[in-house]
């Protein structure tokens, strides 16, 4: 019998530590059969909104299939520790009401590839990670596979960057590998700053060794012998677990000189950010790793040509790198068979906002938004109608947009979302119900961009401030139709002339809400009678 207790940030804030302590002491007190129950700390068990979560693995009577049955319990309190242990040892079932249905679409429709070890392995134990096969692919490629062959598998997999832009990973690796001889660096971008995104945090907190393995394989494939993981400071637990994992990997000879008996060397370091969203932009991130202000610079040269200290540098996102060990284990073709024509594999989403079930969701690319938001997420609590009370789904954070309910049947892939004026982004999906006002949402994101603009280029530094002030007029219902025109004009200007992705994408939340919820902007004009067409100005009740 085994109890797997979620020890990731979400459940921790809901009291997972106290629960685990209570379980340990209850086991000591109960003795007898309870002694045989192992209590293990694991990473995210997905349904973050109902933490703390514990999974109970119970062996079935001999001969039964499957041999082991897993039950998941939600919202456990420390005083229920004894009841849970009683259930584990087959005595009593006092917690039936808190047991989650593992056949529910929230669990049944998920496909764990990146999150394979998440909620299964103990993130603080390299021995546990090794027993689940982590580092096996690193050892194999170092001894038997050439860097070209590794890159070939990654190209075959069709994997595209999971940080948001979707650049083909294999192509990027080739670009770095084929630069003139000299030093190279690998960098993992773990500066997950999009509000509403917590996929990378979950991977770092739940399965850090998988990420290290992926990064080490990437370093081998491009010929780098030094690398950095840049993590945002807002994720202290992730930083702590990653640092621990790096120490463990070094002590096992899986990092450092002559890894696993090969001639390959790799030094990895953690760099912690200091609260600047713009450092998720790759050139700003490189400046920050070098101890400077995190301001972006024009590209080209791209980091793949001239990155850290002028050397070719490979930058990949956490989820991208965490996909690598599976791709090498199963083969690129296996991975390419999942997903759609242009977007292969699975994608991890962080589902939150006005939705019944919030948490971490990994599904094949091409799954419709409706499946994710309504079938898996359960729609808006208390929401009715065919769209489950969903008004819009925000994807891509401050660079993305709001997709209205009538487009929920859109498959989630890079191109479809871009065609709707949003973007995949890193994977945050924030559900909005009828009471959310779209001009307010737009202003919310614009204020975010005002705060996070680094100040280097004028369109972004000054333009976002002007846009935020114009949006104030709409939110406060003192705008005029001229403001609507100016708003669109300025959005286009800021998007076209800003230096980096932050400024270029900052108008997206405004443009997408203007595209799908224009009547809300018109109704916010001082004199809505001027609006055309008039009937579009009649606003649904409940929208402020």
């Amino acid at each position: 019998m085994q109890l797997r207790c979620c020890g990731a940030s979400g459940c921790r804030s809901a009291g997972a530590e106290a629960l685990r302590t209570a379980l340990l002491s209850a086991r000591d007190q109960l003795g007898g059969a309870a002694e045989a129950v192992s209590i293990k700390s694991v990473g995210c068990l997905r349904l973050c909104g109902r933490g703390p979560l514990v999974a109970l693995d119970r062996p079935e009577p001999s001969g039964a299939e499957p041999a082991c049955r897993t039950e998941l319990y939600a919202e456990l309190r420390p005083e229920q520790a004894a009841d849970l242990l009683a259930r584990a040892t087959g005595r009593g079932d006092a917690l039936a009401a808190q047991r989650l249905d593992s056949d529910h679409p929230f669990f049944a429709l998920q496909k764990s590839v990146v999150l394979e070890g998440c909620g299964v392995v103990d993130p603080e134990s390299i021995d546990d990670a090794l027993s689940h096969g982590t580092y096996a692919q690193l050892r194999r490629v170092l001894l038997d596979v050439s860097p070209e062959q590794v890159r070939e598998q990654v190209k075959r997999s069709g994997l595209r960057g999971r940080g948001g832009a979707g650049y083909p990973t294999g192509l990027k690796w080739d670009t770095v590998a084929l630069q003139p001889p000299g030093p190279r660096y690998v960098v993992c971008n773990a500066d997950e700053g999009d509000p509403g995104a917590f996929m990378d945090r979950s991977v770092l907190e739940s399965d850090p060794h998988r990420l290290i393995e992926g990064l080490a394989i990437a370093a081998y494939a491009v010929g780098a012998d030094q690398g950095f993981v840049y993590v945002r400071a807002e994720y202290p637990l992730a930083v702590e677990r990653l640092r621990l994992a790096l120490r463990q990997a070094r002590s096992k000879g899986l990092l450092g000189a002559g890894i696993a008996g090969s001639g390959f060397h790799l030094r990895l370091e953690v760099r912690v950010g200091a609260g600047a969203y713009v450092c998720g932009e790759e050139t700003a991130l490189l400046a920050s790793i070098q101890g400077q202000r995190g301001t972006p610079r024009p590209r080209p040269p791209f980091p793949a040509q001239a990155g850290l200290w002028g050397a070719p540098t490979l930058i990949n996102n956490v989820e991208t790198l965490a996909s690598i060990p599976v791709i090498l284990r199963q083969g690129g073709d296996w991975y390419a068979a999942i997903g759609t024509e242009g977007s292969k594999g699975t994608k991890v989403f962080a589902l939150s906002g006005a939705v019944q079930r919030t948490g971490l969701v990994e599904v094949p690319m091409g799954t419709t938004l409706r499946t994710v938001v309504q079938t898996i997420g359960g729609g808006v609590p208390g929401g009715e109608g065919p769209d489950g009370g969903v008004k819009a789904v925000q994807t891509g954070g401050p660079s993305g947009g709001c997709i209205p309910a009538h487009l929920l049947d859109t498959p989630v892939d890079y191109e479809s979302l871009r065609a709707l004026g949003s973007m995949m982004g890193s994977g945050g999906l924030v559900v909005m119900g009828d009471s959310t006002s779209m001009p307010e949402v737009a202003r919310h994101f614009m204020r975010f961009s005002v705060n996070e603009s680094c100040g280097k280029c004028v369109p972004c530094r000054a333009g976002t401030v002007q846009l935020a002030q114009m949006l104030d007029r709409f939110v406060e219902r003192r705008a005029s139709l001229v403001d609507l025109e100016r708003l669109e004009e300025l959005c286009r200007m800021v998007g076209a002339t800003s230096l980096c992705g932050l400024g270029q994408a900052a108008p997206n939340p405004v443009l997408s809400t203007l595209r799908y919820f224009r009547q809300e902007y018109q109704a916010a004009c001082r004199d809505p009678v001027q609006c055309e067409p008039l009937d579009a100005c009649l606003l649904k009740e409940g929208t402020r």
Partner: protein, 201 residues
């Protein structure tokens, strides 16, 4: 809600930088030691600043000068980095600090109302580092705890799922967290609000 762009924290001019003699000798010594631990490499500047801030609670001007000298960097560069990143504080913090998350999930779940309520309750302004003398309230853009929205961080401790829709329960909870104005008259109103809230339940 927006931090004023035009007003960076008061920049110390070279003349009024206090000498390190104003800093505790032990802290100065520890700063030197930690810089040496980083091999005095200038690319470790951000890491060094994190550790110095841990030492003092903020980055005193004298400590910035010491870091600049020992990392062999121009003071302007050290100050430029310290003032660029949101998490570095250039002034002494208040005794207690509270951060309200205004990420998208928290925003959808009433984070804005929560911030406004805390402003009234504590008698301070959001993102004003001086706060009410005891408490300061700042916003954060996302803590990745979106599954628990809306959330607060009170003196470093994350408080999940605040009951924004139930004012009485919210007031009781905020009171229990010690989030009350130190001003006597405000505290009185708050106490009444708490009293009626708990009485009603």
């Amino acid at each position: 809600m927006i931090a004023p762009l035009s007003a960076p924290p008061s920049a110390p001019s070279r003349a009024d930088l206090p000498p390190e003699a104003d800093l505790p000798a032990e802290a100065v010594e520890r700063t030197s030691r930690l810089i040496r631990q980083h091999g005095s490499r200038s690319d470790a500047l951000i890491e060094v600043l994190h550790q110095v801030q841990e030492l003092y609670g903020y980055l005193p001007p004298g400590a910035l000068a010491q870091v600049a000298r020992e990392l062999k960097l121009p003071l302007a560069q050290v100050f430029g980095v310290a003032s660029f990143y949101h998490l570095f504080r250039l002034g002494a913090p208040t005794a207690h600090r509270c951060a309200v998350c205004l990420g998208t999930a928290c925003f959808v779940k009433g984070g804005g109302e929560l911030a406004a309520r805390l402003e009234r309750r504590l008698g301070l302004r959001l993102d004003d580092a001086a706060g009410n003398g005891t408490w300061a309230l700042e916003h954060v853009s996302c803590l990745g705890a979106c599954g628990q929205a809306p959330v607060l961080v009170v003196d470093g401790h994350l408080e999940p799922r605040l009951p924004v829709d139930d004012p009485a329960a919210l007031d009781a909870l905020l009171g229990a967290l010690g989030l009350s104005a130190n001003d006597a008259s405000d505290a009185g109103t708050d106490a009444r609000a708490d009293g009626s809230g708990t009485g009603a339940r």
